[in-house]
Symmetry: C2
Subunit: 132 residues, 2 copies
């Protein structure tokens, strides 16, 4: 199993469910964006198995904490996650409600001139909304 070590090294027991979710999330050419609902459907399709929604939520939150997933800041009725955990930004197509990656090289360097005392920058995320 190619994800056994990834999970073990993270202190997460490599359960059947987590391994299946890893397959769906990480065994792909391209990274992608998803909601929990979409992931649920994808798991059913790809594996023929049903994993409890509670487990899916538990797992993606565990993966997020370990840095294997990122949450994308966007206002939607559902939360979007990203399997691309490199620093990058997003287009958001308002009509299609779809996210599109903006690689770091697609965006000029971002220069934050303001400082807040006692705080440091954890991340800088750009959301570019698109219309027709």
């Amino acid at each position: 199993m190619q994800y056994l070590d990834k999970l073990r090294n993270s202190g997460l027991r490599p359960t059947k469910q987590r391994l299946q979710i890893c397959e769906v999330l990480f065994n792909t050419e391209k990274t992608f964006h998803f909601t929990v609902n979409e992931l649920d459907k994808k798991i059913k399709n790809n594996t023929g198995n049903k994993i409890s929604l509670a487990t899916i939520y538990n797992t993606i939150h565990a993966f997020e904490k370990k840095g294997y997933l990122k949450q994308i800041p966007i206002n939607s009725n559902q939360t979007y996650f990203d399997t691309n955990v490199t620093d990058h930004h997003h287009f958001y197509d308002l009509k299609d409600e779809k996210l599109i990656d903006l690689e770091n090289c697609d965006v000029g360097p971002i220069n934050i001139k303001k400082k807040i005392n006692g705080k440091k920058i954890k991340s800088i995320e750009v959301l570019v909304k698109l219309e027709d």
Copy 2:
């Protein structure tokens, strides 16, 4: 009433409730960020009146549509709104769960090099997450 015309000119009837909400939102030195819950409390405090939550939701959505409020893209269980409708960006203090304005001059120009066919940029929003 200083907000009568603002509402009339927008095609919104200047009802008692909308005028009160205008007072709370716009009759201040500084702009601010708020959730619907916070606004609800603020209305009760400032006016002694209770406005139905449904009306508050209706009103802020109407104001948003007219461009008097902006929604801030952030992942939270509640939606954040902003009375500062100029182009600007945000710090988000992860510990205090507070938003802080980054004026346009606090952020260097943002250069989006990628283009999507048939789509044009509606807005560019930067979210800078802060930790201790």
